[in-house]
Symmetry: D2
Subunit: 354 residues, 4 copies
């Protein structure tokens, strides 16, 4: 139960600390017969990579994924896909200052409480570096789900919001700017704001929105494993996430039933989609959309009071190269987790009727 696996039939298990020798994972349950384009997987991984633009951490990590098993002559064989991403820079020189110190709003204190021991270098297992493995597995899932489209993008940075309806958005613009916002005007404001925040030695939060198109009907399990419940868990398991809402979300709580109900067209589609593509926990074929809230990164380049292992007050200041805002690099992670969820439910659904 140690919590390093995700999914039931399409299952990812990951390992690795940020400053160990390598991180990696095993994808178990990927069906046989899928042609895998390995370059596409590396491309997805590059979207998450440090150093890719001026508004993310400037750490140098090549993040090259090596596949060790599970494919033969370019095709999946149904056996587990093992992969490894070597850690380029394992020297721990930058982390001696946090060896005995608990960084505020990090996982240092809680890991020590839970395990009694901790790899303090770069956050160890609690580092967001682990999410690189999710992106690899998500990229494999996407190739399995080839007709289903996953479009995540930055919907807000701090108080700057993408103020457009989903229908107005052109998803082909997402990768045209460093902040990954499909609205160029908003993107520019967000980017400027992130740069300003970084100058202050501070950080800021934001939200990612994700739209899943071409969804098959009938995915999701009733009661505890509702499709949106698992999507919610998937998103909340990403570092720094504080909230999840789908369809009408928190705004929907203010509406009346007569306003909120999605009336049917004759073909079973609905005139509105406040349900967010899921009814009773099961996909209805309409677009799924949801929002994910990311808090501001806890590591700031300003002095902060904190305590050490001995419970003494000490002062600390972030060192090294950190993201002023996690949201642009979180976009591919959100997509990856969404793809893992949908892949798993697609396989699960094969046993729902004879």
């Amino acid at each position: 139960m140690a919590g390093n696996s995700f999914g039931k039939l399409f299952k990812l298990t990951t390992f690795g600390e940020s400053h160990g020798q390598a991180i990696g994972g095993i994808i178990d349950g990927c069906p046989a017969g899928i042609k895998l384009d390995l370059e596409k997987i590396q491309t997805e991984l590059n979207r998450r990579k440090p150093g890719q633009s001026a508004i993310v951490t400037q750490r140098k990590e090549p993040d090259t994924v090596e596949f060790y098993s599970g494919t033969f002559e370019g095709e999946t064989t149904g056996t587990p896909i093992g992969f490894v991403i070597k850690n380029a820079n394992q020297k721990s020189k930058d982390y001696s200052h946090i060896k005995d110190t608990y960084r505020p709003s990090h996982a240092d204190y809680t890991y020590d409480e839970k395990y009694g021991v901790r790899d303090y270098r770069g956050g160890g297992r609690s580092s967001a570096r682990e999410t690189a493995c999710r992106v690899v597995a998500g990229a494999v899932a996407k190739q399995f789900l080839k007709d289903i489209q996953f479009n995540a993008y930055t919907a807000s940075v701090g108080k700057i919001e993408l103020d457009k309806n989903i229908k107005e958005l052109d998803f082909s613009l997402i990768e045209t700017n460093a902040v990954r916002c499909p609205d160029p005007a908003s993107a520019e404001k967000m980017e400027d704001y992130i740069k300003q925040i970084r100058k202050e030695g501070d950080t800021v939060g934001g939200t990612v929105q994700c739209v899943i198109r071409n969804m098959p009907k009938g995915l999701g399990e009733p009661v505890f494993d509702k499709l949106h419940a698992e999507l919610g868990k998937a998103m909340l398991s990403i570092n720094a996430v504080k909230g999840f809402e789908y369809g009408s979300g928190f705004e929907g709580t203010k509406m009346k039933g007569s306003e909120h109900n999605d009336l049917f067209n004759e073909d079973g589609s609905t005139k509105t989609n406040l349900s967010g593509g899921i009814q009773g926990g099961i996909s209805n074929g309409m677009d799924i959309y949801f929002n994910v809230a990311f808090k501001p990164v806890a590591t700031i380049m300003q002095k902060q009071e904190t305590i050490n292992k001995q419970g003494e007050n000490v002062e600390m200041q972030g060192k090294g190269r950190h993201d002023p805002c996690v949201v642009p690099r979180a976009v591919p992670i959100v997509e990856a987790m969404a793809a893992l969820v949908i892949a798993d439910y697609l396989l699960q659904n094969k046993s729902s009727k004879i």
Copy 2:
């Protein structure tokens, strides 16, 4: 994987349609040696019961739980606890009008897509009646967790919000009003609003907030099974839920790191608690708090256009006795699911170190 189980070590599996003979469940993994007060469990169940006040559905369902196993001489034995709640009123006369009709924003259409067949009486398995079993299991979990306090309450109904800080609230007032809001002034406004909505034949959404006190440190598993990820899944699995946020939540995305970080006191507690009692997915001993968004009930007493199985346009109108707002009866369900999550992680945590 059919999704009718929740939890790994403290596990609930439920069965039952709203208009079958009975609903029930099995609690597996409850440790031996817990004195069980069965009346307290029934009391919890009564908090969820239809007909308990003027602002909830007036259906008559006694909802009496019978325990069949797992205890001996008043104590749990470590063996599975089987229980059953008989369905009082199994006659289906009220449901003939929906036999072939898909109610808007219900699970009728998606169940048919998934299974090809469906018990259409009262929503069948998709009925919120299933949550009665969760309340039973949650009440058992609470007795196992006796020092940990679960306080859920209505935080908003439509646009009427409980406008007080958690610290100002007196949780002993929650059960003093039908709407289950610890602030009597807000409660009155909410109650009036629900009555008005009901007169309109309409429904309205709302939010439940939950505060967990006396939390042990170290609960939660890193990476995929973070404590808040599982809490989120638990809440999102409740009927009508559209969103979940904990700690600073969606509001926290607008903050800077320098504002958001929770600085430590010397004893490891924190001066602020925007983390919501969870850091890196693991409890830090501070209060856990979170919000759950409920959409307006889909069944309204107004005429609506819809379609039938044949894809023809038909008109329908809700019959029978339904909740104008699900939130007051959802309060004990939120508490129950929270207790199930914490019980499970308490057991899981026993294997984190030697």
Copy 3:
């Protein structure tokens, strides 16, 4: 993990002590659209029932199964099937003599060591009464697997063996005698021997053989979840089982590869079947066959030395009505567990290729 569930996609969870109010279970994951013949299920249950013949326990237990959910108009709906078997005779008068006494080779001592508390009446949860629930679920699985035939029968009682090759057996004779042996001559000897053993106040062991015909190819998962590994676990989980072998089994260890290999026919079938229908953990379409070893029942009607909770030597003697040989009633349990395993793997296999 409390071990009261079996299966992953076609999953049974059971509850109930022998002297509680009821035993029962939940079958989760049975696909929608299966016509269920409830009488056939009761018939299977009757094959396991006490009092059915002169050579089994003479206890009176009606063992009537009641279904509470999961079917609608005679068909499964894909939702969980909840069922209950009431315990007819819950009076505990016969068990006061074992309240503080540990019966030799029973589970009394180990349950106390594990849980610190125990329902001592009739073995509580460790009673073979629990297997009634397995027979119910297995009977449902059989109806799902309608073309696959499960034939279990008594292959030995003590040293009396059914000395015929599987191919010579006429399975239609299994139910023609009380001992459930398809060879009438052997059956008579076995029955006489069991009667003699009972007169001595003693018990005896035996073996059950099971043959599965019309197996689909490709069932079983590689590596840890090989088809025979799960069949083995299923059988070893039945009360009193001490061993499992399939295909050539323990005898096969004495053979050479040149004798043991099953050569192919052109259609993929094999000329011999020492593999027992499974190669590399995956079914090859040939008949699956295996043997299950049952030890002699531990409760004997003779005086035995033992100890009590206080570690004092005491003398005890079995009371009541017990089976002199468990094998005849174990036959339907073996079939049921085999059916549960095959049903689960049939569903799992749906996700092995695109």
Copy 4:
């Protein structure tokens, strides 16, 4: 469900084909705070290695394990332990003759039926090479379980049996001969026989016996997850295994209850141990012992008739370097799987009472 994971709380997931780039695994759930001696792990792996003696395959595989995560300063941290064993010789030249040919009693045919595609080089995923990962994980488990002793050894080769009672055996002699039998006289006979069989271009089966000493009481879960049921599954999941029995096993079926019952000593230990250390599925603190049946290796150096993918009759003959008897190298695998089972149940048992 793809079957490449074993264990629930102490969980191993493996990947890798025999002729891919590497095999490896992830151990998830190993508690924090265990000092790991990595050399000891390599030593265990060397016991399984090809080429170690004259009676095993002469393939050259260095089998060096590299650890990538999960330890810090020599101690486990509670995070997943990722490891990799590179495949030294990935060239596939030796396997072209089996590309389209189904080897008798191998997994070639069934893998093709299941997946529709297969890495035919050296058996791919069905190769016993995968068990190297089990030995690594088992060696970690042994260090966690340091007081519990696992002693497996060869108990028979073909018809040559180790004809001594467990109590007479000196386990320190196991590693003094190539066949791994603690009785030197039997070992010599076995070794001679294996050499003779190899000369014939044939193979032979055998059995491994395992004794677990210093067992804690109370391990094992009632009903489906009985300790011996999981041990049985673990053993049956090893390549070439056809049977499992524990305690009195198949011989016990011939006994009477009055002979078979284990009477108690005052301290709760038993005078005899036909129960094999497990009663009602739960350990009672006595030694656990069991037998595992291995069939003769299917690859023989003699000509055999077989078929190819097109269903045509073809003739084939094993090439390369194969084991004439799998048993000597299976000994450490049996120990490893036993250690994984016990580690898992030790963790599970922590939640059995308050």
